[in-house]
């Protein structure tokens, strides 16, 4: 039985609490209203308060393993693990280096390193992240296990996808979907779009997502003369995302450094041909794709144009890539995590 505890915090996970608990069908323990407003404005303070609260709240729990996710939870994990004398698992979904294009906040990397060193086992979401932990954090390779993220195929009504106006679009379009931040590298997407546009003026581009770079990107798109073929679609809801994937000729994920890149699994689920940054975890598991270096917008454009020109290629990418999803389910990946627990418990 899974128990969830709702707290209001500056530390925002990707999922909202209600979404997550609905999916997990978990028992929800609610804190008294006044205790929900725990955290101050300062990130360091917020983490410290989270740590104290979580140690306090779990003092009567008797776990076999303590599993914590990314740096903000590491201190809580370390203290609990010491107190209970139980093994600690540190799960890495992203490092400070990924988020900042290798210009880290040292205070954060120190916390990351502390957790990684204290952990009995580290789980990385990709071989790419494992290498990062070995090279930049000095963590020995045999301490790090790779468990790739998974994706559960959704059964959605085809009708809703087909009725969306986007699928009626005549011209081929190339899709970017992600937060408009340095890490996701939307800048290179524009550079690529320019190169494609020069040879194929009929092709359109859609950038779906929101983020701090939006203004800069709009300016840059105009500078490159892409105003007629570039659409900034803003943050898309689930249904819009489906329609975008279904209608796109190709999805490009140019991330500078992407520990995994779940969005790529979503793309192949919809049968969209994908071009992936080599600096990503998804490129390790999606075989039927083009891979490019994040900085190489010229090759990115070349791959896009090849997919547009070569129908048999596009068809093969559409039909073959999704096969990997049969193996890469959350059920399977959770099984891998479970066997890591088992090894720790039986020592």
């Amino acid at each position: 039985m899974l128990s969830l505890l709702s707290v209001r915090s500056k530390l925002q996970p990707y999922d909202t609490f209600s979404d997550y608990s609905a999916r997990a069908k978990a028992e929800i323990i609610s804190l008294p209203r006044n205790a929900q407003e725990l955290y101050g404005e300062n990130l360091g303070e917020a983490v410290e308060q989270f740590t104290q609260l979580s140690v306090e709240m779990t003092k009567d729990v008797n776990p076999d393993v303590i599993h914590c996710h990314d740096w903000m939870t590491f201190e809580a994990g370390i203290r609990t693990s010491r107190h209970k004398r139980k093994p600690l698992v540190a799960h890495i979904h992203a490092t400070e280096l990924d988020r900042t294009d290798f210009h880290p906040n040292e205070w954060i990397t120190a916390r990351e390193r502390g957790g990684l060193l204290a952990a009995d086992k580290v789980i990385a979401v990709s071989g790419y992240t494992k290498n990062m932990l070995m090279r930049h954090y000095g963590i020995p390779g045999d301490k790090v296990a790779v468990v790739h993220n998974g994706h559960d195929r959704e059964h959605f009504p085809v009708q809703s996808v087909l009725q969306n106006p986007l699928t009626q679009e005549r011209n081929p379009f190339i899709l970017f979907l992600g937060r408009l931040t340095v890490q996701k590298n939307p800048w290179q997407f524009l550079e690529m779009a320019k190169r494609v546009h020069d040879l194929r003026p009929d092709v359109r581009f859609v950038m779906a997502g929101d983020g701090p770079m939006l203004g800069t990107l709009i300016d840059r798109a105009c500078e490159l003369g892409l105003h007629d073929c570039m659409t900034f679609a803003g943050k898309a809801n689930r249904e819009e995302v489906r329609s975008l994937f279904a209608a796109a000729s190709c999805f490009v994920m140019p991330s500078l450094s992407e520990p995994f890149g779940l969005v790529a699994l979503e793309a192949i689920e919809h049968g969209t041909p994908v071009i992936l940054s080599k600096q990503s975890g998804a490129a390790e598991v999606i075989q039927h794709a083009f891979t490019i270096d994040a900085w190489d917008s010229e090759k990115m454009a070349d791959c896009v144009l090849t997919i547009l020109r070569e129908e048999p290629l596009a068809r093969q990418l559409r039909s073959e890539a999704p096969h990997i999803l049969r193996r890469l389910t959350w059920q399977n990946q959770a099984g891998n995590v479970r066997s890591i627990y088992q090894n720790l418990i039986t020592g």
Binding site: L199, Q287, K299, L305, T306, E310, P312, R315, Q316
Partner: protein, 450 residues
């Protein structure tokens, strides 16, 4: 009766493609091949395999007067020898001079032309025959098709082209419980009249009066080629006398050990002891009175009655499937091969030796092999040996090359004016040609699918 041992080694290197970009298409002068990479791979294999293996073979031929071997050298391998492997070529010539080395016939470009164009297939076999004659003073009488791709029809075609024998994989599903160690014959049926006509137009020697099929003994061949250094194999480590025992137990007329020459020193590194193993074999065979033969000798010495080897569908020596799936197993491979042979007429009409040569080099089977994805699903880690990042990268480069070649051929065709109108259209055709070149450097026929 003691069987003889027949060694045949395949020697081949493709022209790998460089990272060609779409922006280069239509410029009229793009070079598709990665000169640097091809040279460096060739030199690496020459130092690790061709030169030391040829030295060893020469030593064995000199020491054991009855030792014999056969090679098949692809035309593209010979071209690379001429570019950056004169030492390798010279060492093969020395071997040829012993008179105990047989060279087999194949398609010049190590191509899959038998699947798509009988006419070009015949042309290439002829080209290859001429090249072998020029380099080694021999005219091949035994044929082996690319990667031992074979079906009944091919034996009949080879016979009409003048060959007396053909090599094929000894596939269990066709052999049943029969041994691969005896020469077989193809089933007797007539070729289609248009096939006969094509062959008669292209052939350069009279048809042979007989045709035998020599089958690869894949278990014993693969013991050397693939399993020799495999520590998890029960036969490891394999010694020359044990292997000889296995050969003798197998029995029959001739045991055909067919493999890539790169087995020696490249697939099996020198430190696995592969050269020592090879060095020891003729010594043991000499002592035990076991003869070695070339494929043509196996057929000449055969007095028995041959059974029919009935290969209705294509077989090959590749992978466990032993079919065409390594080269034609997915959509992109099929699309690429169709697009390639879709250019045949244009190539012919171009009357350009240069373009025909480029087209030929694009026919090499390796290009299609690099696009293979058959072991990729379900996360299998098996990856084909390839100079490229992925099968899709292989296809990207290849389709760019074909796109560009098509444009060059089309431009060329427009410049060719029928003779009767030549005078009249002289100026306008030159203008068209100029226009085509000018437009070619701007336009990128992106609509054309390769």
């Amino acid at each position: 009766m003691t069987p003889s041992i027949t060694f045949y080694f395949q020697v081949h290197q493709p022209y790998r493609l460089r990272d060609l970009r779409i922006t280069e298409i239509g410029k009229g002068d793009a070079n598709y091949f990665d000169a640097e990479k091809n040279r460096s791979v060739f030199r690496k294999v020459a130092e690790k395999c061709y030169l030391p293996a040829n030295r060893l073979m020469l030593e064995l031929l000199e020491r054991y007067p009855n030792f014999r071997i056969a090679y098949s050298l692809s035309g593209v391998f010979l071209e690379q020898c001429e570019e950056y492997g004169q030492d390798v070529l010279a060492s093969f010539r020395v071997l040829a001079k012993t008179g105990r080395v047989e060279f087999l016939g194949e398609t010049y470009y190590h191509s899959l032309s038998c699947l798509k164009s009988l006419k070009d297939f015949c042309k290439q076999v002829r080209m290859h025959t001429l090249a072998i004659k020029r380099h080694f003073g021999q005219r091949p009488t035994i044929f082996r098709n690319t990667e031992l791709i074979y079906r009944n029809e091919l034996a009949l075609i080879a016979r009409v082209l003048g060959f007396r024998g053909i090599l094929a994989e000894g596939a269990d599903r066709l052999l049943g419980n029969r041994s691969a160690n005896e020469p077989f014959v193809p089933p007797d049926f007539p070729l289609r009249p248009e096939q006969e006509q094509t062959i008669n137009r292209e052939r350069w020697m009279p048809p042979s009066d007989s045709m035998h099929i020599l089958l690869k003994n894949y278990r014993l061949s693969d013991d050397v080629a693939f399993r020799f250094s495999d520590r998890s194999w029960v036969g490891y480590p394999l010694h020359a006398d044990t292997f000889t025992d296995w050969l003798m137990t197998a029995g029959g007329h001739s045991i055909n050990l067919f493999m890539d020459y790169e087995t020696f020193g490249e697939h099996q590194w020198e430190d696995t002891g592969i050269f020592e193993f090879l060095r020891a074999l003729p010594r043991i065979w000499d002592k035990r009175g076991i003869a070695t033969t070339t494929p043509s000798e196996v057929i000449a010495r055969w007095t028995g009655t041959s059974e029919v080897y009935d290969a209705h569908d294509f077989i090959s020596w590749a992978d466990t499937e032993r079919d065409l799936s390594a080269w034609q197993g997915n959509r992109i491979q099929q699309a690429a091969l169709d697009a390639l042979y879709g250019l045949e007429d244009l190539v012919e009409r171009s009357h350009s030796e240069e373009l025909a040569k480029i087209w030929g080099r694009l026919q090499t089977s390796d290009h299609f092999y690099y696009m293979c994805t058959k072991y990729w699903n379900d996360g299998d880690v098996h990856k084909y040996f390839s100079p490229y990042d992925s099968p899709y990268e292989a296809y990207r480069r290849y389709s760019h090359a074909l796109c560009d070649l098509r444009q060059r051929l089309e431009a060329n065709a427009k410049c060719q004016v029928p003779t009767s109108k030549k005078e009249f259209n002289h100026h306008s055709s030159r203008f068209n040609c100029f226009l085509q070149k000018f437009l070619g450097s701007w336009g990128l026929a992106l609509g054309t699918s390769a």
